[in-house]
């Protein structure tokens, strides 16, 4: 009830007037196929996914990964002599990168390499938080929802305990531990994942609570399937929509968490680079060298925006209700007036 549905950024679903020929009503298609088609028809989400992948490819190919070198001539640690007082040399017309396309920071490090490294780290943190939190959340939620009773009580009270502590606060503490232990970006991301699973656990639990009462679960149990098999082979595939959507949205908030922690000095530390760290290190130079601020800021917003758009697109693709709102638009000729008014024609419900 309280989920956000009906993505108005999605123009294509419901544009066809002939309802019978709607692609996703084709009974011969599998659930996955329908969801895929609905997602692909959402232009914004598709563009977001492409941009996201391109950014990952750019950041990895530019400065390489670990020992593998990239195509960019500088790395993010080496100090270079200042060219043109560190101003960006990027030119769009005619396009040329120049020596330091994003400029240089105060001590001469190449800002393009620093930013690319920051993107690498932020993406790593996003994905790792998403993976770890999803696995823990799904296991906790599935056990609580499937077994109910005291298992449910205990697991949900544990969830309550963690949810009392705000995400940023526990993130900062975990970040401090990771920093003191010298764990680096990888360890930080894994630890942050360990403290971010609560929302997913609650959603998965409520999904399991309703799915376990369905006939197909009953049938599996009568056929002699074990609890593990019922959970993972029968119920989990049916709960996959909730899981994918909530972990995508978690990924979107994960980059904000990581950059905030690094900004406050408890996350990734110099000489390694993070988008939040770059902003906190250079915000005092805003008036003299604004590019030191704008590049990381722009990439944070782009990454987070992409994840949010993809999450929203997935939610619409998985949510059968999102069609309802669009359908009314086609059934309601006079959408300029209060367009949610119930149309005089019989409502098309499924």
């Amino acid at each position: 009830m309280s989920t956000i549905q009906g993505n108005p950024l999605e123009p294509s679903i419901g544009d066809g007037v002939d309802l019978a020929s709607r692609k996703d009503d084709n009974p011969g298609e599998s659930q996955g196929r329908i969801v895929y088609k609905r997602f692909v028809s959402n232009k914004v989400a598709v563009v977001a996914i492409i941009v996201y992948v391109l950014l990952i490819v750019l950041s990895i190919s530019a400065i390489g990964l670990g020992p593998i070198p990239g195509w960019w001539k500088y790395d993010y640690k080496s100090l270079n002599s200042l060219v043109n007082e560190g101003a960006p040399t990027l030119k769009l017309f005619p396009f040329s990168l120049g020596d330091h396309p994003f400029g240089q920071d105060r001590i001469g490090k190449d800002y393009f390499a620093l930013t690319m490294r920051g993107i690498q780290n932020s993406v790593l943190v996003m994905i790792l938080i998403g993976l770890v939190a999803t696995v823990i959340g799904v296991v906790v939620g599935a056990l609580a929802g499937y077994f109910r009773g005291w298992v449910d009580s205990v697991l949900m009270r544990i969830t309550d305990v963690f949810i009392v502590i705000p995400a940023l606060v526990i993130g900062l503490i975990v970040g401090k531990s990771a920093g003191a232990g010298g764990l680096g970006a990888f360890g930080l991301a894994a630890l942050l994942g360990v403290v971010s699973w609560m929302v997913i656990a609650r959603l998965v639990r409520s999904e399991f609570l309703s799915l376990r009462e369905r006939e197909f679960v009953e049938a599996a149990r009568v056929a002699g399937a074990s609890d593990v098999r019922i959970i993972f082979r029968h119920i989990l595939p049916n709960a996959i929509g909730v899981i994918i959507v909530s972990s995508t949205l978690l990924v979107a908030s994960a980059i904000l968490l990581e950059t905030a922690i690094s900004y406050l000095g408890f996350g990734i530390k110099s000489p390694d680079s993070s988008l939040g760290l770059l902003i906190s290190g250079n915000q005092s130079a805003f008036s003299t060298r604004p590019w030191l601020f704008w590049w990381p800021a722009a990439f944070i917003v782009i990454l987070a925006l992409c994840a949010n758009f993809v999450g929203d697109g997935l939610r619409d693709a998985f949510d059968p209700r999102s069609k309802r709102f669009s359908l009314r638009k086609t059934a309601e000729p006079d959408a300029a007036e209060v367009s949610t008014q119930v149309s005089p024609t019989p409502p098309v419900t499924k």
Binding site: R157, P166, I170, L264
Partner: protein
């Protein structure tokens, strides 16, 4: 019901204790608390280390240390055997002495942005739901996605740089150039035509009227040097109060309800009378006087509504109270604006502050210090507000769309109720039910987010207490912070459950 409440409180306390254990152990093990002393080169290094170990019981295992800490907290709740203690920080200041000031500072910041985010977010969400799939809806949706993706520290830094510095620089020479004037007109006109919607003709008309009005008003204000010496004056107060009365009546009762007009009119007249008679009292006012006047205003509004009465007495009382409070706020605003010039002179012509929560060493009466507080709070409040505002807009929009789809809304329309009644009395109230849960979960996030905002704006509130404590691995201030945050979050969740039961008769507490 009583057993439900008691059970909830008991469970809440257990959750709180368990969470405090996790916090304590995590923070205590996050780093070496003696690091600053061990790496320092003070001559009496060994003695200092010994002293800190004694002071913080560092020789005890963190789990047992948590027990000691919990014992101190328990004595705050049950005052038997020893005094209330939340421990001391490394500088040997008791946390119980540090917390109140920090809490006050943070509470000021969070309360205002919390309330504004709810009111503005829900209002905007409803408007987008009523204009669903319009240009306005798309714009707001895009905007809220953008806000969702904007880290709050980024927002804070941007506000500091552009709004504060920009406005202060503008005040040095408060003349708006013609080009800016036209751009402002076009932007306002474009926004208004999006909100109004409808046919091209109607939109164009809205665009021309609102854009033109913006240009004329701004040009007049700029020409009369209003930005340097702002004032409202009696004319503006009367105009604003009438506008408020109109809006309240139009929204709550409909324009052809005579009794509603009478109620609102009485309160506007009373506000204007108060404006002319109370100025002398205002000059010697303190916070206490203003609070007393606020309570009196509310009472007058309710009583006037009660006396006008009619078949819908409750509605009249709401209209009376709302009109009275809002027009009294205009009177108060007028008095604040009157002190603005003096304040700007007192702070050297740069009124919008970017750090701290007050100007040090600033004298002056209630009005000057009030303005000082608000100029310091303005930017942190906006940066906190915009983050949770986006969430409320989205939820209110989807909630409203869902409610408008219900059968009882169709019934209400079918029996011929005006659209205003359908929206305000049938749909709006039911939409509020799921929002109650959101508000509760949002409180925790907002208090957490205050850590960042306080850090960017250098406000010495709870967030600052937490960050300094965590940096030094000083557990007690961190735990003091945690106690306040966690109790607030739990209390709001509890209130949300009660509100749920009160708002929705289908929900019965067991």
């Amino acid at each position: 019901m009583v057993s439900f409440i008691l059970r909830r409180i008991l469970v809440s306390i257990l959750v709180l204790v368990a969470a405090s254990f996790i916090m304590y152990v995590l923070v205590a093990n996050s780093d070496n608390p003696l690091r600053d002393l061990q790496t320092g080169n003070s001559p009496n290094k060994q003695a200092l280390i010994e002293a800190r170990i004694q002071q913080q019981h560092l020789d005890v295992n963190p789990v047992l240390r948590w027990g000691i800490w919990l014992g101190g907290v328990a004595r705050c709740v049950v005052p038997i055997g020893g005094s209330c203690s939340l421990g001391v920080n490394f500088q040997n200041q008791p946390i119980t002495a540090l917390l109140p000031a920090a809490m006050g500072s943070t509470l000021q910041l969070v309360t205002l942005s919390f309330l504004l985010a709810i009111v503005l977010g829900i209002a905007l969400g409803i408007i987008t739901a009523l204009r669903v799939y319009s240009g306005f809806d798309y714009t707001i949706t895009l905007f809220s996605f953008f806000l969702f993706s904007l880290p709050s520290f980024l927002m804070a830094v941007l506000l500091k740089t552009f709004v504060a510095l920009g406005y202060n620089n503008f005040l040095q020479d408060p003349k708006i150039p013609l080009s800016t004037l036209l751009i402002a007109g076009v932007v306002i006109g474009a926004i208004i035509q999006l909100v109004v919607g409808g046919t091209i003709r109607r939109r164009l008309l809205a665009f021309v009227i609102s854009g033109g009005a913006t240009v004329v008003v701004l040009a007049a204000l700029s020409a009369t040097d209003w930005f340097a010496r702002p004032a409202l004056g009696p004319f503006a107060v009367i105009l604003f109060s009438l506008g408020i009365a109109f809006a309240v009546v139009a929204l709550l009762a409909g324009l052809n309800n005579r009794r509603a007009w009478i109620t609102a009119g009485i309160n506007v007249v009373l506000a204007v009378i108060a404006y002319f008679t109370l100025q002398g009292l205002f000059n010697i006012s303190t916070l206490g006087t203003i609070l007393t006047l606020a309570v009196a205003t509310l009472a007058v509004g309710l009583i006037s509504g009660f006396l006008v009465g009619g078949y819908d007495r409750g509605l009249m009382m709401r209209i009376g109270a709302l009109t009275a409070v809002l027009s009294a706020a205009v009177v108060l605003l007028d008095r604040f604006v009157a002190s603005w010039g003096n304040y700007v002179d007192a702070v050297g012509g740069r009124p919008l502050a970017t750090v701290g929560s007050q100007t040090p060493g600033l004298g002056g009466d209630f009005w000057i210090s009030g303005i000082d507080t608000y100029t310091h709070l303005l930017l942190p409040t906006i940066s906190l507000l915009l983050i949770s505002f986006a969430g409320y807009t989205r939820y209110a929009r989807s909630g409203m769309l869902e409610v408008l789809d219900q059968d009882y809304v169709r019934t209400a329309r079918a029996k011929g109720l005006p659209e205003r009644t359908v929206i305000v009395r049938h749909a709006f109230r039911n939409m509020l039910i799921p929002i109650a849960t959101l508000v509760a979960t949002d409180v925790g996030a907002l208090l957490g987010g205050a850590v960042i905002t306080e850090s960017v704006f250098a406000i010495s509130g709870m967030g600052n207490l937490f960050i300094t404590g965590l940096t030094a691995t000083d557990v007690n201030p961190v735990m003091g912070y945690f106690l306040v945050i966690a109790i607030t979050a739990i209390a709001f969740n509890f209130l949300a459950d009660l509100a749920y039961a009160a708002l929705d008769p289908r929900v019965r507490a067991r």
